[in-house]
């Protein structure tokens, strides 16, 4: 698996974040795309739903939560319906199990080639490296994922995986890897990829995809794409495998509408994705298309553990990517700074939690100590979330776990403890504030402003050093507020 999304652990986010902030191309590509999508998201919801938008989100939240609360029952129903339609259903407790199931199916069909549409869970379980190791040539058919694949790059956004790249890079890659002529025209680039892929679709032994929703009543999976590549990957090869996290289950088509209304609007500001495809069992007698075998691999890989934890709300996530687009930090550091296939706000809470739930309980946060801290807690993610996951709450929760386990900087903890101790002692606290102001008066650079005199600190001790690394600290040097207030009180003044 690419070290960009599976780095050595424990993962240190800071060097990647620092580098990303200095990367002007990344700033431009990611900044522009996220701002645009976020603005368009607000626009389309306003236009199509107005003040009902919040109610729609509430319905989606409750519907998904209901499904999670009844997961066992829905699983049984899904398995029964899927098997009735002739599909085979497999349960994978771990990533390795999921890969092993796929390899077994591939071996049974002596598969040598595979066409794959976009799927986060296959990134998560490392399916591609497993297939490559087994000699199964696998083609990513989502255009963005394809470009990343030929570049040996990794996705940096849940929905727009190559958000950190542009046409110029794509043009060069197509020249280098496909022998194409150089063009930056998006239509021509798409045609080059299309020509390259069409034959491979027809020749492939195996099709692989993820799923956006699993319908328990119908025993089918719903896949939302914009390129139609899923339909080709399921239409050509004789065998199709759907990999899907168990949290994707909902009751059935009767519950699907709010999610379809929300998913594409939240992710890409489209009313619907261009294709909304349903997969049920294999080709039936008299049908002309479709695979002869359909497998559903239901992946746990920590999800059941998350369900049993206080972070169960995270399983409501429909992977729309809206929180990434809305997040000021994601916009600046890009996806690879999160060291996971799940970047941005949702990734910051989901990555350590999935790891904790799959491995030993002491891992998780210990392997990703920066992720909960890499947020200004601005709340834009919560506001953007179509299923109302309170991500800032979980970030704060994780910060507390980090502190409890001694995984946060000690000096910072000591400062905060002193601050709290002083805050219980008003007289001392006032003296401390006075000392800060005195410190500034003595050591700061004085400046007369329209609003009175101010002292500027260019360097501060202790935790303040992080502040003055890039900023000055301005402190008003005049009379303290309390002195002013007390004086007015005694004089009567204008009061």
């Amino acid at each position: 698996v690419n070290p960009l999304i599976a780095p050595p652990l424990p993962f240190d986010m800071k060097p990647r974040a620092r580098e990303a902030v200095r990367d002007l191309k990344l700033q431009q590509f990611v900044g522009n795309a996220t701002h645009l999508k976020d603005t368009q998201r607000g626009g389309i919801f306003g236009r199509d739903f107005g003040s009902d938008y919040d109610d729609l989100r509430t319905v989606a939240r409750d519907t998904k939560q209901y499904a999670l609360d009844h997961l066992g029952e829905l699983l049984e129903r899904f398995i029964a319906s899927a098997e009735a339609s002739g599909a085979k259903v497999h349960a994978a407790a771990t990533a390795d199990e999921a890969c092993a199931i796929a390899l077994k199916i591939a071996r049974e069909h002596t598969a040598e080639s595979c066409v794959k549409s976009k799927s986060m869970v296959t990134e998560e379980i490392g399916l591609l490296p497993a297939f490559e190791a087994a000699g199964i040539q696998t083609l990513e058919t989502d255009l963005g994922e394809f470009i990343l694949q030929i570049d040996g790059d990794a996705p940096s956004h849940i929905v727009t995986p190559m958000i950190h790249k542009d046409r110029v890079a794509t043009a060069k890659s197509f020249v280098r890897e496909l022998g194409a002529r150089y063009t930056e025209d998006p239509t021509e680039l798409t045609m080059i990829a299309r020509e390259h892929m069409r034959g491979l679709y027809r020749a492939a032994d195996l099709g692989v995809s993820g799923a956006n929703f699993l319908l328990a009543d119908e025993g089918s999976a719903v896949i939302c794409t914009n390129e139609g590549n899923f339909d080709l990957s399921v239409g050509g090869p004789p065998v199709h495998i759907v990999f899907v996290g168990v949290e994707k289950l909902i009751r059935g088509a009767r519950d699907l509408a709010p999610f379809l209304k929300l998913l594409a609007r939240s992710g890409t500001a489209q009313p619907l994705t261009v294709y909304t495809s349903f997969v049920r069992g294999p080709r039936r007698a008299g049908e002309h298309g479709g695979p002869k075998e359909v497998h559903f691999v239901l992946v746990d890989a920590g999800r059941v553990g998350v369900l049993a934890s206080e972070k169960r709300d995270l399983l409501r996530c429909i992977r729309c990517g809206a929180c990434l687009n809305a997040c000021p930090v994601y916009r600046k550091v890009g996806g690879h700074s999160y060291g996971s296939m799940y970047a941005g706000p949702i990734g910051a809470v989901l990555t350590p939690e999935l790891e904790r739930a799959q491995g030993n309980a002491s891992a998780g946060l210990a392997n990703y100590p920066d992720l909960p801290r890499a947020s200004s807690l601005c709340g834009a993610c919560y506001e953007a979330c179509p299923v109302k996951i309170d991500i800032p709450k979980f970030l704060m929760h994780d910060r507390a776990r980090l502190r409890e386990r001694g995984l946060s900087p000690k000096s910072e903890g000591a400062t905060l403890a002193l601050w709290r101790w002083l805050a219980e002692r008003p007289a001392l606290f006032r003296m401390a504030i006075g000392a800060v102001r005195l410190h500034a008066r003595m050591l700061g650079q004085h400046e007369k402003t329209k609003d009175g005199e101010r002292a500027w600190l260019k360097s501060a001790p202790g935790p303040g050093a992080g502040w003055t690394a890039t900023r000055d600290l301005g402190i008003a040097t005049g009379e303290s507020f309390r002195d002013w207030f007390a004086q007015r009180d005694t004089k009567g003044g204008s009061r």
């Binding site: 902030v21 930090v329 601005c378 709450k393 507390a400």
Partner: protein, 251 residues
């Protein structure tokens, strides 16, 4: 109505003028705020940095100190949102502490919110002795105002009152990059966001920025100062007090 001023420790340390302005504006609309002297810190730094038990100690103090008052008003957006949104989560439902912090949350207001929603002050009536300053200003709301559904409401209020030329800040919704200790933990990211905000401010042509949180104001003012960008950063209270002729600005 007994109104208490919730000063916040950051404003006492960094921005006494914002607090003076808050008192002057409240007096202008006929409210005489009191200053409970035992108040210190609301616990936001502990709460945001993984020390909820320490934050709970301070939350309990806050509820006690402000218990005698009918309303609690603060010029600092983020401290306000902590009391309003976050205190409840520190205590079990049904406990006495929970009831106390819920009562505090129900009567705590950010200054502009207090004027607009509690006192129902018509902003167009906020006219002082002097004519409104012609100097254009622009307004950045603290992200924390999202949680109390006030994000983006400062600028319209100031524009309707006597603040003259209030210019729309492009991409106001994006965080300025302060984020409490985030600003020292990820200084490069924090600064990059701050620089983007300053660029947007510059694009408006305004030389005064109104920021509705003391921390955001200190971050942006400190960044502008380090970069040698002439920018005045004030609170909404100061903008109102100046326009009403209650507070001097030696322009």
């Amino acid at each position: 109505m007994r109104v208490a001023l919730f000063t916040t420790c950051l404003a006492e340390a960094l921005a006494p003028r914002a607090l003076k302005a808050t008192v002057l504006v409240l007096e202008h609309v006929g409210v005489r705020p009191e200053l409970p002297t035992a108040q210190t810190c609301c616990g936001q730094p502990m709460l945001s940095n993984g020390l909820p038990a320490d934050a709970a100690v301070l939350a309990r103090r806050m509820a006690e100190i402000f218990a005698p008052y009918d309303a609690v008003v603060t010029p600092s957006g983020s401290c306000c949102s902590v009391v309003r949104e976050k205190y409840a989560g520190l205590f079990d439902e049904g406990s006495a502490d929970r009831a106390a912090v819920d009562a505090l949350a129900a009567k705590t207001y950010e200054l502009v919110e207090f004027l607009e929603t509690k006192l129902k002050v018509d902003p167009t009536t906020l006219r002082g002795k002097s004519t409104p300053s012609a100097a254009p200003l622009t307004c950045h709301d603290a992200c924390h105002l999202r949680g109390i559904h006030r994000h983006g409401s400062t600028a319209p209020f100031l524009a309707k009152s006597c603040c003259g030329d209030v210019r729309e800040l492009p991409d106001m919704a994006q965080c300025c990059g302060f984020g409490g200790m985030f600003s020292t933990q990820f200084p490069e990211v924090s600064t990059a966001l701050g620089e983007e905000k300053l660029a947007h401010v510059a694009s408006t042509g305004a030389s005064t920025l109104v920021a509705s949180d003391t921390g955001c104001a200190a971050h942006l003012a400190g960044l502008a100062h380090r970069k040698g960008v002439p920018l005045r950063v004030i609170s909404p209270a100061e903008a109102l007090a100046e326009s009403l002729g209650l507070l001097e600005s030696k322009a």
